[in-house]
């Protein structure tokens, strides 16, 4: 018998230099690769890079501090993430029909996207009719909300309201619950657009009052939920808008954590106990196609938040340290060219989010870069989640990339980048101050431009756009039809009829109370709820607040 040829007996460092020489001999000096956050990526990672020797301190077990590996002990092995698709178009009854269809097909949560006119703080009769209901549902009154939720068991369905300050949609939901005899404590859900800072920084889609007033309403809204709505998450801190506007993954995570710190510090200053409000803070992020970077972003974010909540905010209850998040696959990565390719992109993004340990997921429809998504494309987006979970078995093991030399090293590096950015915002005086100075907006703008330059120079491939192009006929795509204009006309007539029929004295009185609350220090959100219950419309509530608290302009400089 021959003795096997002896193998080199390197230690790790020697082995690595031997490998590096072999790499160079075969492929030359490695081409410089950096991720979107600017972290240089080497071709190989080894145990010399990982944080395995600090397992307890850096990683720990799922469901235990610092939660790097997940916020729950059982994670997706115990319970799937929530499949929460955004829905909203047309008149309230259009929304109701689509919602019932989704509920019949297994959805357990609803998400209401109002029309842009609602986002911007107007009633349907205050805007160009062409724009009504084209990418969200027109909901202006408590009766509209009643029709939108007709036949929906409010006490059993988690209701996410895409409801920016002053949270009139939630006020309408509360009024509907009261009319139906559903006690408020039985309502569950989230105020999805409560993060007014994100609206100032990016995605200026929402009704805005000047920052000081917006800041006050958010805190009043959180306090109200603490008192009256134990099943409601009043705050969703949003990194998604910033990343969609161009922030790198590290910037988006850092700025989001800065906003969360700012809200928490405001709540503490308002006399609230962090262990009462922090367990109901949630987060909402974008998932780009930069796969490992996104996984590392989420793992690093969980670890940083646990440390900040425990250390800086002084929370003692472990539930306060958990970084619960919803994520949405990135629309910016999708292409109009060869749109079916977007299904592959959404799949890769969704896997990154699942491996990143999300609690709730929205997968984009492949055609959202062409129009408001069609029904077929929306169904494929939901099916993508089902395939990943139940056919690909992505949920069998918790944090399956944990322990990868690369992913652990990248998690550490993302953490350092994020912490450096948080320090920069702290030095500017906190997130409100940084936003008022335009600091955050300009950093995001520079990153957006840098990414576009990378695409145009070809450094970043985008299939079908700057590589692998094919001739195609865009007219072959059949977009979703715009809502039936007769429905919109009927909705306008109903609004006029509602305004004529209600008790004008009660409305005037409630709007007067709202104005007084705005001028003084009373709970603004309680005044909004009272006004809506008295019959005030969304647009009327917003008009009072705009008048009393001032309007919030976005940055006018480039």
């Amino acid at each position: 018998m021959n003795e096997p040829v002896p193998l080199p007996q390197d230690d790790l460092a020697e082995g690595e230099s031997r490998w590096a020489r072999a790499f160079a001999a075969g492929a030359g000096t490695p081409k410089r690769v950096a991720n979107r956050s600017g972290i240089e990526i080497r071709p190989l990672y080894t145990p010399r890079d990982g944080n395995g020797s600090r397992y307890a301190e850096a990683l720990g077990f799922p469901g235990a501090y610092p939660y790097t590996r997940g916020i729950y002990a059982s994670m997706h092995r115990g319970r799937s993430w929530t499949q929460r698709q955004l829905v909203g178009l047309g008149a309230p009854e259009d929304y109701n029909a689509r919602l019932k269809d989704l509920l019949a097909h297994g959805a357990t949560a609803l998400s209401l996207i109002p029309c842009n006119s609602v986002f911007r703080g107007y009633d349907a009769d205050e805007v160009d009719a062409e724009l009504l209901g084209t990418c969200g549902t027109v909901v202006n009154t408590v009766e509209d909300m009643e029709r939108a939720l007709e036949g929906v068991p409010l006490e059993r369905i988690s209701c996410a309201m895409n409801d920016p300050s002053p949270f009139t949609l939630l006020a309408m939901l509360l009024a509907v619950a009261r009319r139906r005899g559903v006690p408020w404590p039985r309502l569950t859900g989230t105020s999805n657009q409560s993060d007014c800072i994100s609206h100032f920084v990016a995605n200026h889609m929402f009704f805005r009052i000047a920052l000081a007033g917006a800041r006050r309403i958010v805190v009043d809204h959180i306090a109200f939920a603490n008192r009256e709505l134990p099943g409601w998450n009043p705050l969703s801190v949003v990194g998604q808008h910033m990343q969609q506007a161009g922030a790198t993954p590290a910037e988006a995570m850092a700025f989001t954590l800065c906003s969360a710190l700012q809200y928490a510090e405001d709540c503490i200053a308002h006399g609230m106990d962090p262990d009462v409000f922090l367990p109901r803070f949630t987060f909402f992020f974008d998932i780009s196609i930069s796969f490992f970077e996104e996984v590392a972003k989420f793992r690093a974010g969980r670890r940083i938040w646990a440390r900040l909540a425990r250390g800086r905010l002084g929370a003692r209850d472990p539930r306060s340290w958990r970084f619960k998040f919803h994520a949405q696959t990135s629309g910016v990565d999708l292409t109009r060219q060869q749109p079916l390719n977007n299904i592959a992109r959404v799949t890769a993004q969704a896997i990154a989010g699942i491996f990143g340990g999300l609690q709730s997921l929205h997968t984009d429809a492949y055609d959202e870069v062409l129009s408001t998504p069609t029904h077929e494309a929306a169904r494929i987006a939901v099916a993508t989640q089902n395939v990943l979970r139940e056919e690909a078995h992505l949920v069998d093991v918790i944090d399956p990339l944990g322990g990868s030399y690369y992913v652990e090293a990248l998690t550490d590096e993302m953490e350092s980048r994020i912490m450096a950015l948080i320090e920069r915002v702290d030095a500017a005086g906190g997130m409100y101050a940084a936003v008022e100075q335009g600091l955050v907006q300009h950093m995001i703008g520079a990153s957006a431009r840098a990414f576009q330059d990378a695409v145009e120079s070809g450094r970043q491939t985008v299939v079908g756009v700057n590589a692998y192009r094919v001739d195609e006929d865009p007219a072959a795509y059949r977009p979703l039809e715009y809502p039936d204009r007769r429905r919109i006309a009927a909705q306008l007539a109903r609004l006029a009829e509602f305004k004529a029929r209600r008790s004008q004295a009660s409305v005037a009185n409630a709007l007067g109370e709202l104005a007084r609350a705005a001028q003084g220090r009373d709970d603004l959100f309680a005044a909004v709820v009272a006004a809506v219950e008295a019959g005030a419309t969304h647009g009327e509530v917003c008009a009072v607040l705009r008048r009393e608290l001032g309007f919030g302009q976005p940055l006018t400089t480039l």
């Binding site: 161009g246 006018t556 400089t557």
Partner: protein, 141 residues
């Protein structure tokens, strides 16, 4: 023949405020030597027309993500009514194919879709500014 740089208004009309596209394009046009008047989102059609006349703009660039392009035919009519048909209008963003036809029929010079390069946009805007100038000189002579 004027040798001033092309003057471009980059704006958003209607209700949506997603401004990544308008900001990136405006900054690029400015950096490539054009005079850019940038506005925040949510402008009224009448405001944009007034601005175009006051600024003597050659081109108006409308960015649209969430169906605000449906208002562009109103903008075209308002420009005509104000005697400013020489101003060239381009639209960039999410515009479904059938809507693109309607916009072009209404007099829009060009629609840019996602994936358009900044350079391509800048070249087109420069050429359209030349057309606006020629139209004005034609009207003057």
């Amino acid at each position: 023949m004027s040798d001033r740089p092309p003057k471009v208004i980059v704006t958003k009309i209607g209700l949506d405020g997603h401004d990544r596209g308008s900001r990136v394009v405006a900054a690029y046009l400015r950096d490539s030597g054009m005079e850019v008047v940038y506005t925040p989102p949510w402008q009224q059609v009448a405001t944009v027309v007034k601005l175009a006349i006051e600024e003597d703009a050659d081109v108006i660039g409308i960015s649209s993500l969430a169906t605000d392009h449906l208002l562009v035919p109103k903008l075209m009519a308002a420009l005509r009514d104000a005697g400013a048909s020489d101003v060239q209008v381009v639209v960039g963003g999410i515009v479904p194919p059938a809507d693109e036809t309607r916009l072009l029929d209404a007099g829009v010079a060009r629609v840019f879709h996602p994936g358009s390069s900044l350079q391509e946009i800048a070249e087109a805007v420069r050429a359209l500014a030349g057309r606006a100038l020629a139209l004005r000189e034609g009207a003057a002579s």
